[in-house]
Amino acid sequence: MGVLVKKVELSWLDRTYVWPVMKGMGITFQHFLKQLFTPTAKRFTIQYPDMKKEMPSGYRGLHELKRFEDGAIKCVACFMCQEACPARCISIEAEEFSDLNITQGFEEKRPAKFSIDMLRCIYCGMCEEACPKDAIWLRKDYEVAAYDRLSMQFGKWDLMNTYTEADGKESISQDPTPSVPRRTIAL
Amino acid sequence: MFITFALITLLGALGMLLQKNVVVAGLCMVAAFFGVAGLFVLLANPVAAALQIIVYTGAIMVLVLFVIMMLNSHEEEKAQVSHPVQRWLSVTLIAALAFGAVKLVLGSKGLTALAVTGAEMPQAMTLQKIGTTLFADHLLGFEVAGLVLLAAMIGAVALTKRNL
């Protein structure tokens, strides 16, 4: 099947080639002047380390393990995300914990270790989909880089603290004592 | 200055003859042309020097190198072993020619006059003088040469372009 190409009839002025060139030069010069008199901050270019792009909602960046208001981890170590992960970058070790002071004889599960290999992660968001407790989600931080492989293994505390600065929370490094039994909150 | 330019010319010419690589030989020839241009300047004829560079190095040698590159002979073919007869014949021929040329120059009237009156600085040649010489004194020769060149050009185009 052939495609019909319309031939453009050029006027004699266009055929001299000089006039169209001058028109084109006019256009480029307009752009030049416009850029010249635009302050740097208002130009299209985002000068990266100084300015950062606002990522669109739904962007899948670095993971965060969410916590409750009192700081306790929301994750219940159900291994759903580990199963759902197509890149198999999540590895979880569960532990039981009980706080006899509050709930007599009550026991709950939480991850002792929760690590994501960021070199393997493909940022697909399946873990977020799979999580029954909304404990893990992917947010907008895209600057995930390090100087060696080892520091790309994000552990439990790294993942819990990824967005502390952005959210204004304090960063934690040990499980705080829960004030209320989780089951009541879940109910 | 004369020695420098003469050396450049001679070395360039020698290099062109002895060099096995065609492109390097061509570049040696460019050097020789440059030396000749310098000699022209020393003879107070900068116009000839400029024309030498424009025409010979700027156009002709470029075209020659262009053709060499288009044929693209990176590996040089081994030349056939020349017969000693050829070699001796060429050497004697060149010797005879050189002898004749030297004798011609030494016996010329200009040189004897130079010996008598001593050297004088030749008058500077300008484009105006060349113009008047070409278009007033040697008009017929110039026109004929132009016609011959035009005919040659048309012939070349007609030969190479099959379907005009």
């Binding site: 010249l36 740097t40 | 390097v24 900068p46 262009f66 590159m69």
Partner: protein, 353 residues
Amino acid sequence: MDKLASLLHTTPAIAWMVAKLVIVFGGVFSLAALWTWVERRGSAMIQDRIGPNRAALFGKIKIIGLAQPLADGIKFFFKEDLVPHDANKALFWLAPFLALVPALMGFAVIPFGRSFMSGGQEYHMALLDPGNGMGLLYPLAIGGMAVYGVLVAAWSSNNKWSILGGMRASAAMVSYEIGMSLAVVTIFMTAGGYDPSEVINAQGHLPWAWNVVRQPLGFIVFFTCMFAETNRLPFDFAEGESEIVAGFNTEYGSMKFSLLALAEYCHLMTASALMATLYFGGWQVPFVQNPAVMLSVLSFLVKMLFFAWVFVWIRWTLPRFRYDQLMHLGWKVMLPLSMANLVFHAWRMSQGH
């Protein structure tokens, strides 16, 4: 000048010569280096980008990125100097110099200011004094030499793309030289001389008496041919990145590449100086009869830099031609146009204008 000369125990003429050498070659070279920055910055502006604006002296002084050429130079110096295995080593080394030297030399004959008298001696603002007999044939001759840098670089790299680029460059240069020469000849004819000072004096100080008004056709032809001569876009066939990798400088890196690039910009400077001299009255200041020396130098500089900017401007406006279009334009348009220009002006002169 006299005082300086007596300080250095030389004659004023020699001191002036040395000063001119430094001014001309240093000036052209540094302008060429600067123009790499102008090119990048200008192209960025034209394409609504920002361009190199971050290079800073001592990590602090950021003058709109003006330190970029310096940084580039340092970077090029410390890069590994690669020579391809099968390249012709000697020629590979020689080529950048063959490219750079003609590009710089071409400037020697162009007067960049009004001659002035001082202490009974006349000082000329050009490396070669007027009346040297070579006149404007000299930049044409040297411009013709510039192709050797490209050719030798192309051939010695032993690379198919390089050779293609070199062949294109040589063919383009030879074919455009003719149209250019004929356009220049017309100027020689109307000016009645081929010395740049004569050409400039013939144009006078009134803008409507400049050659660009008198022979606009010649100007267009010369202008176009200058693009082909300097191998700049739209005619940069030696280096068509989209077609033949990087053309003649595919195999070049580090300082050798930077010399090749600098040669291009030096050539650009020389070409724009030629254009200013031939068609825009050289150092003549519009409407000023006998300008002060510094004013004339300034005027020349402004004209030259304007044309250098036009080179950049056009490069980022027009796409590259196809090769057959280039040949078509050169032989079937530019040559007849410059011929017509020549014949027309010859006829006018015969009519006594």
